[in-house]
């Protein structure tokens, strides 16, 4: 399939509530996708979908970032009302990356610190409960080993491919249901709830995670995985991307891994 994708029609990238769920710099994920796609000769067509905006008819990659309780409350009902479409897209192997508050709302439901329950999209079989105000937030550098096929199997050749590094900052504790798979296992840091070893969730080509950083710029293997998924969805055929060095990203990744191993609790 080498390089045939450079003639592909543009990959459709949908950013959900980019002006609301933008508290934690997760737009770095979109910046990294733009930069990497340009370097690979992949064209993008971008859609910002905020409050009251319609979803485009189709999407190859969906992004949503983190927000505080206030922002989550603002979007939850509308987002849940888009649940049928988003779940259908997930079933159809649209690539997705939902981070932190966005990840929580892509689960079944989220109960905030005052006990109010927000409906979720239900892409992931996961539920989240925010403990009371006195409970400790999960804050710090985090390093996980990904369980995602395409990231995982490469581990034997390139151990960095399976490691995903970032920064977590969340009060909510997320618990995976019986049909959910984790995005990865925590090696340093806290992850979904600090009790089990899991971080994030995966359903088909959709990934939910607590990792900021932003996560995609300094995890080029994950970035390429999402780009390949999105392109495969666009073309309706499995695409393998050509190798392409990412020296800046690799250096930032290596540095962040070293810092995390030094600063965060091992698991």
């Amino acid at each position: 399939m080498s390089s045939s994708y450079t003639d592909a029609p543009p990959v459709r990238v949908v950013s959900l509530y980019p002006d609301v769920m933008n508290v934690y710099a997760d737009r770095g994920n979109l910046l990294a996708i733009r930069h990497r796609a340009a370097a690979r000769g992949i064209a993008l067509e971008e859609f910002d979908v905020s409050l009251e905006d319609p979803l485009p008819p189709e999407a190859d990659l969906v992004l949503i970032g983190g927000g505080q309780d206030r922002e989550q409350h603002r979007i939850a009902a509308e987002l849940a009302a888009r649940g049928d479409t988003l779940r259908a897209w997930a079933e159809d192997d649209t690539a997705m990356l939902a981070v932190c508050g966005g990840f929580q709302l892509f689960g079944r439901w989220y109960r905030d610190k005052r006990g109010r329950t927000l409906p979720g999209v239900g892409v992931f079989d996961a539920t989240t409960v925010a403990p009371g105000p006195r409970a400790e937030r999960a804050v710090g550098d985090i390093l996980i080993e990904s369980a995602v096929p395409g990231l995982g199997p490469r581990a034997e050749r390139d151990p960095r491919a399976v490691q995903v590094v970032g920064f977590e900052n969340h009060a909510g504790r997320t618990y995976l249901g019986p049909s959910a798979r984790p995005f990865g296992c925590v090696r340093f840091g806290r992850g979904n709830n600090g009790a089990d070893i899991y971080e994030g969730a995966v359903y088909r080509e959709a990934i939910g995670t607590y990792l900021h950083g932003s996560v995609l710029p300094k995890n080029p293997a994950l970035l390429d995985h999402l780009l390949a998924s999105a392109l495969s969805h666009r073309l309706g055929a499995l695409v393998t991307l050509d190798p392409l060095p990412a020296p800046y990203a690799e250096r930032a990744h290596t540095a962040a891994v070293a810092i995390t191993e030094r600063r965060s609790p091992p698991r």
Partner: protein, 464 residues
Amino acid sequence: MIAGRGAGAATRRLGRGGGTALPGLVAGAIAPRLLEELSTDLPLGVVTVTGTNGKTTTAHLLAAILERAGLDPLANHAGSNLERGLAAAYVSEVDATGDLEHSDRRIGVFEVDEAALPPLFPRLQPRLATFLNLFRDQLDRYGEVDSVATGWHRMLADTSPQTGLVLNADDPNIALLGEGSARAVTRFGVDDPEVALHSAEHASDARFCPNGNRYRYDAIYMGHVGLWYCDCCGSRRPDPEVSARHVVLESDHSIVTLSIAGTEVVVELPLSGLYTVYNALAAAATAHALGVTPDVIAAALTEAGAPFGRQERFQLGDKTVRVLLAKNPAGLNEVIRTLAASDGPLTVLAMLNDGIQDGQDVSWIYDADLELLTGRRPTLIAAGDRADDLALRWQLAGVEAQAVVPETEAAVDVALDETRPGDRLDVVATYTAMLAVREALARRAGVASYWERPDAHRPAEAAP
């Protein structure tokens, strides 16, 4: 008390930095009620200055105005703004019997960390509390922006109505602190849509009014700061008593027409950027609330120099070095805008540290609009503990670093080599990186170390 002062001298003699908050730590351990006791020793009371960005500059400008007005301000000048820093400011001023040197013109001007303010507030009993702005900052340390605002509202609900407020009318997070309040409120703001942004910045921290409706703006000055209103609940940016009617931003200074309760004065600030205009407005409004006349305010603002590390300049041979502190998205955006408006070729030494005082999380660099500088094609040197993260961020903005040099001295060497004779090097640094680079530059320029400077009573240890 004297034990505390000895500790400061000893740390400085040991060459371990400024020894800035250790005196406060020692004195605080010996006399835990130090702040309460000494606050009552200030005959003109205490003024607090709080906000995400601009505390140090505002407190510095306010102290300069009050000094010119004939008062005797006691300040924690150098950014040491947690409890220990405040106690240290006292300790540096007491005599051998432990009494504050007596003067009936003494007034406390304290910049206080935004998260540290609620527990300190009842102990300081300020006569006036100035609130500058509330932006996302070090979310790893402060938690969420909303929880800081909630803490302030609770704090004020428990505070005597004797405490007056000085509020930024243009920041809805701040303006709402005065809503329905029985206390005296003085507001400040910018009334010159000419200096508004043409498009909203990415990092905006007050998008929804308390009823959950989206704020709208007649003009956005920075982030979520501007001429805001809510067309649903009808709340809107209140009219400020102290306002900037006309603002001219030059690359190294600003000319501002201030209206102070109806009297217009023109001020030339030796600092660039709209954010320093806001700091000057806050200082002017606070001084006005204390009864200082507009002409004294204008004269003092024009004469005040840059405080420690905030737009400081060094002359190294035929090259000028300007040091700009940037420690959160709003601050970095303003620095980027200042650089974009600067004349001549741009050489930038960008430094990112991830210590506790900087914020251990470096995600925030993705919130800042570095792309505003891409077209200027700056010569970039990335440095600091997280130099690789910074170089990657700039690469995504279309600027490839000339060099990535984590270590300070080596980075300064490379950056000076890249700066052509007669040109200027701009250093953009997070808090601890700024401390380190300032030391390196001061030594090369033959300038006194920061703790030897007369305007830096007790330099920084605490959070920026």
